[in-house]
Every structure is written in structure tokens, then in C-alpha cells.
Symmetry: C2
Subunit: 161 residues, 2 copies
């Protein structure tokens, strides 16, 4: 059992299904989900939280998959490039996409107390698109993140969960 959004869910199924989706997508698009890439995605899916590149690297190193920074950064570049993983700029960290498959411009809620990160299902950037259109700016990538307190951490006694 892990935590998704701010509620519990069946995590093993969640991980397996996301991996399957990635496998299928790569097969269909002639992309190579190599061992290192697959393992990094699996780690991010399992941990189900935002992780620093070096946190991931420590796990890879312990498993003998690779122990130098480029190993994990290359895998992350691939996974981010194809939408399997998102970078949380505010935290300099990475998280598996919570809605794989659907093309989307994700937005994130980052709890500063429990450090959970939720990817919102909905498209959220309409105002930004409008502002860009007004000045003729052509958007290629978006960063939309909110930091604050999740529902669980707003009650005064919820600090140590």
C-alpha cells in the first residue's frame, strides 16, 4: 500500500499497469525501454513520490545497474522526454507520471510538510495559454507547480505523519 494523491490505493496494481503502458507505448513507437530506463521508471513508480536524481542513483548503484550520474540523468532524460516521468522544478526532483498515455500539461501540488506531490488530472494552464497568445509567444513546455499544505497536513496535530 502506498499513497496516491492524498488517499490510499492498491499500489502494486498501479505500478504494474503503468509499466505495462510504458512497454506498450515504447513498442508501438520503436523506443527502447532499456534495463536502466525501465528500472528508473519502476523505482519512481514504486516509491510513488518525488525523488532526487541521486536518490535514484543510489538505488541503481546498490543493484549494480550503474553508479555514475550520467546513467540516471540519461534515463531521466528519456523518461521525461516521452512523458513517463515529470520533473518537479521546485524540488529539483522527479516523479512518475500519474496519468500516463494521455498527452497532458501536468500541474503539481507539493506539500511542504509531508512532501507528497500530487499530479492534477485536469488541464490547468488556460490562463497561461491566453497570456501567451496575447503577446505571440509560442509555448513548448509548461511548469505549473503549487507548494503548500495538503489536506492531511493542515490540522495542527498532523505534523508528524
Amino acid at each position: 500500500m502506498g499513497v496516491h494523491g492524498f488517499e490510499r490505493h492498491d499500489h502494486a496494481r498501479c505500478v504494474g499497469s503503468a509499466l505495462d503502458t510504458a512497454e506498450r507505448f515504447c513498442a508501438e513507437n520503436k523506443l527502447k525501454l532499456t534495463p536502466a530506463r525501465r528500472r528508473v521508471l519502476e523505482i519512481l513508480l514504486s516509491e510513488h513520490k518525488a525523488m532526487g536524481a541521486y536518490d535514484i542513483l543510489a538505488i541503481l548503484a546498490a543493484e549494480g545497474v550503474g553508479s555514475q550520474p550520467p546513467v540516471v540523468y540519461r534515463a531521466l532524460d528519456f523518461l521525461v522526454g516521452h512523458g513517463f516521468v515529470h520533473k518537479i522544478e521546485r524540488l529539483n526532483s522527479y516523479i512518475a507520471c500519474a496519468h500516463p498515455g494521455a498527452t497532458h500539461s501536468p500541474a503539481f501540488m507539493i506539500c511542504r510538510a509531508c512532501h507528497h506531490v500530487v499530479e492534477t488530472p485536469a488541464q490547468v494552464s488556460s490562463g497561461l495559454d491566453g497570456a501567451a497568445a496575447d503577446i505571440g509567444f509560442a509555448i513548448e513546455a509548461r511548469v505549473v507547480e503549487a507548494e503548500g499544505l495538503c489536506p492531511n497536513c493542515q490540522s495542527p496535530d498532523a505534523v508528524a505523519r
Copy 2:
């Protein structure tokens, strides 16, 4: 003459007026705009672009104001904390606020070709606020950034401006 938004403007007046606003705000709120803080703000206003902390530090060091990282990071913490400067998370860099005074949740357009960064005047995050309200998340800070091509850099011959 500098560049503001993606058009030209009277930059000297722009800098002076922003500094005045900051001075006034600090006086009214019993904040200390110390020499290092003032100089960092002035540098960011003058350059009128997003700068890395170490770029700023190099200028400070050349002037003898201070030469160690904490000098610039402390100044930036103060300036960001009070809204005089914004951090561009996507670039790990900092830019003077283009609309000082007004409380706002800024959004930025980052041109990947000419590296100009524009702060949009308008509030842009309504969708994010709605999504947060839906799940009971209490937003304290927002990061809204778009990367792409500014109007000047969209024509094929505009690469080297």
C-alpha cells in the same frame, strides 16, 4: 536602452523607479534594504534578465561587496521573500519583479532562443486554484512558467539577434 517584455523601453527610468518603490516599501515596513541587498536588486534591475546567483556574485565580488555564495543567496532570499525578485525555477535563476508593489502570483514566458524572460502582468493561475480547492490543498506559493519561442525568435532568420 534595454529590453522589457519583448519591446524596447526607457530603461534608466525603469530601474530608478523600481528601486524607489523598493526603498519606500522597506521604509514603510521596517525592512532593511542593506547595501548588499540593494546592490543585488539594482544589478537585477539593470541587467533586466534572468541571472544565475553566481553571475550576480561575480559582479559583487568585482566590486568588493562580497565574494562568498551566502552573500548573494541571503540577499536573494530577502528580495524573493518580499517580492522584489522572482526565482525562475526552470532556469535556476533570478529576475527582478516587473510589477513591484502589486501583490501577485507571477507567471513567466522564457524564450529558449534569445533567453529573454517576460513576467506576465495578469493573474494566470485560476485553474490551479480551482484544482487545489477541489482536493482541499492550501496553496502558499506558485510556480508558473512557460518555455518556448518569443515573437522575435519565431521567424527563421531571427536566430542570432
